[in-house]
Amino acid sequence: MTDGTKTDRKTDRTKAGRMTTRAAHLPRKGTEARVGAVPAGVRRGHPGWTPWLYLLPALVVLGGLLVYPIYQLGLISFLEYTQAQVSGGEPTSFQGLGNYSALFSDSQFWQVLLATVLFAAACVLATLAVGCALAVLLTRIRAVPRLALMLAALGAWATPAVTGSTVWVFLFDPDYGPVNRLLGLGDFSWTYGRYSAFALVLFEVVWCSFPFVMVTVYAGIKAIPSEVLEAAALDGASQWRTWRSVMAPMLRPILVVVTIQSIIWDFKVFTQIYVMTNGGGIAGQNLVLNVYAYQKAFASSQYSLGSAIGVVMLLILLAVTLVYLRLLRRQGEEL
């Protein structure tokens, strides 16, 4: 890392360029060694205002378009805010916790909350299982099938949620879709029943989010020293055993990241539900919190109730984040 100091700038630049990409591949061990000596890349002496100057644009944008809206969201959830207040016909009035008590005494809210949690859990588990299994599979095969699987996964990953949703609905269309014909289901409508509709959305969500898990875990497995896996193979460990007792513990940091990311994404699913079940399914049977909040606010103009749902979601995800931070800290990560 330090040997390139005295060379001329040109070689230095190409070298560092290579390092940029290489460093990203390094397993964690390498980073720690670098951090140990001198805090990596930190300028000595007093930085003065320079870092704040660099941070200024980011802080302005985030303050105005993230922090302030969060504050507003909280504020609206305490007000009475419907179409009358929006158009200025009536003054806004402070409701205290009124919106929340209205929400919590609504049985539909609890039903939606339960559906959201269960649906997100199912999506996360399925995504992780598929992603990890395929990542292990990738390490056992030669280049050509691996490339095929990688490209297919990248395609699914890149597909916009809207188009992914429309395609999956079409695939499972009772009249013209190939899936029902293949499975001999006749004109069974997937979006009619509550559970089959959720299952359909789950397929799409897993399809478009397993590639992230697969690619990340695969990169992690490749960073495991080959001696370790060889030793496991020599000791006659089975595939499952190698994963459980060798790979998974070594991949823990990566697994934590992909799990948390998946929880966050799947808990916030909006587009898929909205497009595939046409705004929350028949009589709202497929509503999840996000879509529920949207319908409350923009379909029935109950902006304050919608905001209260948003606050509930924010708090749940905040709790997930705090767990994540604790896990990171326990792993001794340096920020």
């Binding site: 870092p51 941070l55 944008v61 095969i141 009249d175 013209y176 497009v275 931070l325």
Partner: protein, 283 residues
């Protein structure tokens, strides 16, 4: 996609089985995209047939023609590209500056800020649709592309900063010292030395801001309410959903047009993407 380094002894039939499984999975995963493109090219009669054949004997451009003619599709496409382009450039520049600040300087509240960036990634942006709607209304941004660009810059920043840290960190500090000795000012170092070196990382980061912006559905639906000349692609797609009979050919053709740019972008940068992700995850 470097050659496999793990020379674990695998019995031949086992590997062949694994490869067969991988190819099968690849086919299943790719099938929806294949079906989308296929259906876009099928003539109307074949789409509305209950046969659902996985090939077509007479490909036709009718669906695409409907997409481009009936709708103001080119306009929507341009709007989408404009919004995504603006977000990518702006968030890359802002994130580059911020990432430099938090990796190459030590100052008070640095760790606090980093944690804030992490927490900010978790904020469900969908929940903020309501306050943002009023904010955009108060600033007269409703029905303009600005209403889509501004929030997306804000929402792609935290992740972009987080991911860029690894790339900025990887540039050796010695380089900065050498530049200082040569009399380069801080801003000269920043833009003429650091920026080109971090550029690959910026590209990887941009993929995420591009995709999240290009794919955005909620804001496009909520903030562009009456002026359809400002609509983006997802809205154009929904037009083909009709209460009585969906125009599947049109939907699939529009979906294809919307998916292809992302696909191309993704394949072009996938190598950097994977290595960049490794960096982001590792840190």
């Amino acid at each position: 996609m470097s050659p496999l380094r793990v020379p674990v002894r695998i019995r031949k039939p086992g590997r062949l089985l694994a490869e067969a499984a991988a190819l099968l999975v690849a086919a299943v995963v790719a099938f929806p995209l294949y079906w989308m493109v296929l259906s876009a090219f099928k003539p109307a009669g074949e789409i509305q047939s209950t046969e659902a054949r996985p090939w077509t004997g007479s490909p036709s451009l009718d669906s695409f023609r409907r997409v481009f003619e009936q709708q103001d599709f080119g306009r929507y496409f341009l709007n989408s590209a404009l919004v995504a382009g603006a977000v990518v450039v702006a968030s890359a520049l802002i994130a580059f500056l911020a990432a430099t600040a938090v990796t190459r300087f030590r100052f008070r509240f640095r760790t606090t800020l980093l944690i804030m960036f992490l927490v900010a990634q978790m904020v469900p942006i969908e929940a903020l649709t309501i306050p943002l709607f009023f904010l955009m209304r108060d600033f007269g941004q409703l029905n303009t592309l600005g209403a889509l660009i501004l929030p997306h810059i804000a929402f792609s920043l935290p992740f972009a900063i987080w991911m860029l840290r690894g790339f900025v960190k990887a540039v050796p500090e010695a380089l900065e010292e050498a530049a200082a000795l040569d009399g380069a000012s801080r801003s000269r170092f920043l833009w003429q030395i650091l920026f080109p070196l971090v550029f690959p990382g910026l590209v990887a980061t941009s993929v995420f801001s591009f995709i999240s912006t290009w794919n955005d559905f909620l804001f496009a639906k909520s903030f562009i309410i009456s002026d359809t000349s400002q609509s983006t692609l997802p809205m154009a797609l929904l037009v083909f959903f009709k209460p009585d009979e969906n125009d599947w050919g049109g939907i699939m053709a529009a979906s294809t047009v919307m998916t292809i740019p992302v696909l191309v972008f993704f394949v072009l940068v996938q190598r950097r993407l994977v290595s960049g992700l490794g960096g982001a995850v590792k840190d």
